[in-house]
Assembly symmetry: C2
Homo-oligomer: 291 residues x 2
């Protein structure tokens, strides 16, 4: 199961998921001049970031929207970046948040688990219901693929639907989480987690601790670290013995170089520095708690 | 407002939205041989369908998953198909069902409302909350663009989340619908409908009639006609004086040719025939009801 590979990677390298939400505005000037083409510069930037972090990052999450915004050429950069990550033996999460009827979902499975856009994990949105997750299940069971389904996100509007409660006080996000637990049973790895994970943003300490206990076989993808406001102390709560979650940061890592006079030339070095300090900050909290 | 263009188109040509969910398996053999390349054949098929239906179809909905499944080359066909529809002066709905945080949504807006993938309307998923819709609003207000937000879909799993009720008995889908009514006020066209529409699948007659009354300024995109099981009598309930909704059919139109001995050679003719008979079937129901 692919989840075992992710678990080992966290065990070895820590909890940081480097988010390659690479906006053209993030690129150092000299890189654009050297590459002579925006899309080529984008790919080169990603490649440098991957090379500089692959021994300390658990995995990479690549947000397709940033590449779609550049049209067909942008999606070619998306494809090349995915290929590069996987050629290095690293894990690629395609942040695509798809969710559609069965026939369409089969097409998305083919799109994002094979050929040009092949990734190891994809993110999925559950609004259309649980049958929208079924077409992926063969890939989970037999083809070393996995997913993270949106449960509770980290944006202010997350409350609008995810926090709605039914007559028994059960939140929409809890209903989704419960379903993931059930579906996950069939694709549990030897590490104890299943290949069907959850996107789980920091809400409040009580909720996080409860969810970490209840969803003991669900691996969490925690968004919103750094630029979006989540803190090390929140992120640490998602972990169980230093594993069971990856914490994503994009802007804070990719743009760390802007804080330094020599940043432009050493953007990859500063990305690495930020990823290391983020990992340390989260794991220190964990250590404090277990004392 | 783009919604006025859609309203006029329905007024003039009827309620059919032709779904270009073109699977490679739908293509007649002779077309693949002639084009010598699957992607080229896919584009040619779409072009023939558009030419054969543009005087009787209100608009076209193109499901991006079918093109993503063919990788970068498939997305180039997606782009060319969108361009062809819009060059003919016809309306293109990009069925992408995106939903993400603000920064990412801005990228999706750029992706699907400008350049390579420019469409007139996009579909959006509300699971992440209403702030995930905000980044599109400038395009709705000032750039002749619109959207259809998933409210109630037509698949069996739709009940899993969309039908969950809060303490007051309000469904998740009703909460979304109410929000769309409010947001839509700012982008209402002279036709009385707003550029923020709703994807609204057939559930039961009582619900549809109630929603059509309550959401009097919300234009509906009705999925699931034909191959997915929705009937003319259901679809007609979404209309108000023969307008206010478009009804999408894909497989039943694109594959109608398979029923006929001379179908392969005349696939576009038979697609047209099916679209006409579908429109008549829906509008006849309406006429019967208004007698």
């Amino acid at each position: 199961m692919i989840i075992d590979k992710l678990y080992s990677s966290v065990q070895k390298k820590g909890v940081v998921c480097v988010g390659l939400d690479t906006s053209p505005s993030y690129l150092p000037e000299h890189l654009i001049s050297k590459c002579g083409d925006l899309c080529e510069a984008l790919y080169t930037f990603n490649k440098y970031i991957i090379d500089a972090t692959k021994d300390i990052a658990a995995c990479y999450k690549i947000q397709i929207a940033y590449y779609e915004a550049l049209g067909v050429k942008g999606l070619s950069v998306y494809s090349r970046t995915l290929k590069y990550i996987r050629e290095q033996g690293e894990i690629a999460i395609a942040d695509i948040k798809r969710g559609d009827i069965k026939e369409t979902a089969s097409m998305y499975a083919k799109a994002h688990f094979t050929e040009d856009f092949e990734s190891d994990f994809i993110t999925l949105s559950p609004y259309m219901g649980f049958d929208s997750l079924e077409p992926y299940s063969d890939y989970f069971a037999n083809k070393e693929k996995g997913c993270f389904v949106l449960v509770r996100t980290s944006n202010p509007g997350a409350k609008d639907i995810q926090d709605l409660c039914d007559r028994n006080g059960m939140k929409v996000s809890d209903a989704v989480a419960k379903k993931l637990m059930d579906c996950g049973e069939a694709v549990k790895g030897t590490c104890g987690y299943s290949s069907i994970g959850a996107v789980m943003g920091a809400t409040n300490i009580v909720d996080i601790s409860r969810l970490r206990n209840e969803l003991d076989s669900v691996f969490f993808l925690v968004p919103g670290y750094g630029a979006q406001g989540a803190k090390a102390s929140d992120a640490a709560l998602f972990l169980k013995d230093g594993n069971g979650a990856i914490v994503n940061s994009s802007r804070a890592i990719l743009l760390n170089y802007k804080k330094y006079d020599d940043g432009e030339k050493k953007f990859d070095y500063y990305a690495r520095e930020e990823a290391i300090s983020m990992n340390n900050a989260i794991l220190e909290v964990k250590d404090e708690r277990s004392v």
